[in-house]
Symmetry: C2
Subunit: 159 residues, 2 copies
Amino acid sequence: MLTIRPATIADAALIKTLITELAEYESEPDQVRITAVDIARDGFGAEPQFRVLVAEWSSEPVGFVLFFHYYSTWRGAGLYLEDLFVRPEFRRRGIGTSLLAGVARAAEGENRTFVRWTVLDWNACAVGMYRALGADFLDEWRTVLLAGEGLKKLVARDG
Amino acid sequence: MLTIRPATIADAALIKTLITELAEYESEPDQVRITAVDIARDGFGAEPQFRVLVAEWSSEPVGFVLFFHYYSTWRGAGLYLEDLFVRPEFRRRGIGTSLLAGVARAAEGENRTFVRWTVLDWNACAVGMYRALGADFLDEWRTVLLAGEGLKKLVARDG
């Protein structure tokens, strides 16, 4: 019933839809600024910046995972998982774990020794799933983001 | 007095030394598994997986920043800063901010709209510096890492 397959450029609109559904689940639907055109160009153009696996249940798309290269100065080459999503009505069937297993196999095939990602602290379901897989939670580390005016000011600083 | 310059393959041993000094500062000196050979191959080979800027004070190397591409499904293309370090005796001279400004300029030059990184929660000095620059702290997000046996089991799961 379940198939995990690499996405193609024909999936750009589907990926945009799934990204938006995930943002809605995270109560942040207005945060999605990228378009299907961005996804087609950035994921499936001359210099792909990410890869996507799509999960299908009886040929119906039900989830996705989006990931790219990461480099740790402690561990060397790894993968970073930016998004993992399964549509609510298809949860509790192991689809999320199968998508993660696809990423784990990509890591193994490229001699990348770890997969890193983030999870919302209130998402107990996901936290429990990751813990069951043997993942570590690096709770000493805070995530920092610099964008917009702050980034512009910094660019101008040493001009 | 201060120069920020892109690293070359000749800096691989220096970068390894600075990475180790940073891990010592973070009380995790045994976590550094990568070698100068790994750094030369992964950073300065056919397919560079990261870039490094070196800070020099009167031609003496005093710090570095290591970064690579990141892709956000909300914001599109950005940069991820994996390591930022200034030797203790050269702190409080704005060197860290100048290294960050170098990364901000790299982002601007490539139409990348944000820089993302993590900071140890007890590093009040760094947290204060990032806050002063206008950075956001994404404290709802927990960092997760899957490696070693957990990753191997997942690879075997759907085999």
